[in-house]
């Protein structure tokens, strides 16, 4: 038994190594990121990236415009109009469903809502 335990298991050793590495790096990163300096640099980088993205977006918008293609705003407007149509459709569907339910007796279909919790059933039968 002792001989068996003394035999190294390379897979277990590798697994342990990865676990230790993960734990160590997570702890190290958490300490490093939990600082004013990191927050400042990270937010600066985020702001810079988003500003660049915005400028790139505007540039592409101008290019699309020169090709006589719809702008993003125009597409968004179409989206809004589609959403309004979708909402109206849902309202109409809901009204129709309600109408259908009232003409067919009104009671929602499905299994009876009579289930009792097992504790109550045990108590009842005791």
């Amino acid at each position: 038994m002792a001989e068996q335990q003394s035999t190294p298991d390379p897979v277990a050793a590798f697994r342990e190594l990865v676990t230790q590495w993960e734990k160590g790096l997570n702890e190290f990163a958490s300490k490093a990121m939990n600082s004013d300096e990191f927050a400042r640099v990270m937010n600066k980088a985020t702001t810079t990236t988003t500003t660049m993205q915005q400028q790139l977006g505007e540039l592409i918008g101008r290019y699309l415009s020169s090709l006589n293609l719809p702008t993003r705003t125009e597409m968004v407007n179409i989206g809004e109009r589609l959403q309004a149509i979708e909402t109206s459709l849902h309202r109409i569907t809901a009204q129709l469903d309600k109408l259908g339910a009232s003409t067919s007796g009104g009671a929602p279909a499905g299994p009876p809502r009579t289930k009792r919790p097992p504790s109550a059933e045990q108590g009842g039968s005791a």
């Binding site: 001989e3 068996q4 390379p10 993960e22 004013d36 009876p112």
Partner: protein
């Protein structure tokens, strides 16, 4: 047994009688890893969210689903699950046998789920008020209408829990029968890393929202990933090691797909949650007001159940702890379960821990 393992067994016989078998297993697993590794690359991720359901209401980012009952007899009070706004709702319905929804249906509940689509560009103006005073009440009304029952139990996960708490606090005379929350942050002082990163001295939330409109999912995903930067790489190493194990690979793929399937957030909603919750901690302090109405958790009088995770790195226990103490309910319960932010709700541990506890608590209060 192949030649290599036979030789190894002979040479190592004095040291370990099982060495040969172990080497054989190692070789077989290595072969399996290569075969299954190729399969992994060549096959699509498993399909999730397959429990039969009907979309009963949809409006932009909002989807309300009704799952078809799987029991012959169901509890009187329907359940409305509210998903977090950052991720898709199929975490409640991963796969047969690993689905909270399926489990609840089989236990005899009538289940409805609020799931979110990515907010569209024209939905950048959605606010906390939209979610709490429009979306949830509208869904509750539709659940009442669809089920024919006045009472509804609301179950919220993470930010879905926060929205449900706000809804319950502002509708204490409403149809809510019970409130169950999973890993719901209340005291944002203890969201240590998020606090640091959204430090108002450096985090230009106005500029970000004004520039981008909606907050892209990559930003949300990265902020979650940064909480544990080594975990993804370690997970991939673990995946390779367990590539021979079909169950492990399937589970890994499901969770990996879900966690990377992050949703964008509506810009104004993000601005408001940053300022109100992160900076002012106004839900915890009772100073949050939606449409001029103060959100006082003390107004919640219905039975409350809160499940929190012992090793939650996204919502630490101290951030979630004040919920039970803050509500005015007499019937309230908190359970602390082993696991992390996701594994407490879905996966093999949730099947054994959270789900039966939730069923026991809900069953008695759903008649």
């Amino acid at each position: 047994m192949n030649a290599a393992s036979a030789t190894a067994t002979k040479e190592g016989a004095g040291a370990d009688p099982n060495l040969g078998a172990r080497i054989q297993a190692l070789v077989e697993r290595t072969i399996q890893r290569n075969i299954k590794g190729l399969e992994y690359i060549a096959t699509p991720a498993p399909v999730m969210g397959t429990t039969p359901k009907d979309l009963i209401y949809s409006r932009g980012t909002l989807n309300l689903y009704h799952y078809r009952p799987l029991a012959d007899e169901i509890y009187r009070v329907p359940l409305l699950l509210v998903m977090a706004t950052t991720n898709k709702g199929y975490i409640f319905d991963l796969a047969p046998g690993q689905s909270l929804v399926e489990y609840l249906l089989k236990q005899g509940y009538d289940v409805y789920v609020i799931d979110w689509n990515p907010p569209r560009a024209d939905e950048k103006n959605l606010t906390l008020e939209t979610y709490v005073l429009d979306f949830i009440p509208e869904c509750v009304r539709r659940v009442q209408e669809d089920s024919g029952e006045e009472d509804v139990t609301v179950v919220g996960y993470c930010m879905g829990g926060v929205l449900s708490v706000m809804y319950a606090a502002l509708h204490n005379d409403g149809p809510i029968k019970n409130l169950a929350c999973f890993t719901t942050p209340i005291d944002y002082r203890h969201m240590t890393m998020f606090q640091r990163w959204s430090d108002r001295r450096y985090f230009e939330v106005d500029r970000l929202v004004d520039t981008l409109g909606n907050i892209p999912p990559e930003l949300i995903f990265t902020s979650f990933e940064m909480l544990r930067p080594a975990t993804r790489i370690a997970g991939q190493v673990q995946l390779w090691e367990n590539m021979w194990n079909d169950d492990f690979v399937k589970s890994y793929r499901m969770f990996d797909r879900w966690s990377t399937d992050t949703l964008p957030l509506a810009g104004e909603y993000f601005r408001q949650t940053t300022k109100e919750l992160m900076w002012e901690n106004s839900l915890y302090h009772g100073t949050l007001a939606l449409n001029g109405r103060r959100v006082d958790m003390g107004n919640i009088k219905v039975p409350l159940f809160h499940a929190v995770a012992q090793h939650d790195h996204i919502v630490p226990y101290d951030a979630a702890k004040p919920l039970v103490a803050s509500v005015g309910s007499e019937d309230k319960k908190e359970i602390v379960l082993k696991g992390g932010h996701v594994s407490v709700v879905a996966g093999p541990n949730a099947v054994k821990r959270l789900w039966p506890a939730l069923d026991q608590w809900l069953g008695e209060r759903s008649v």
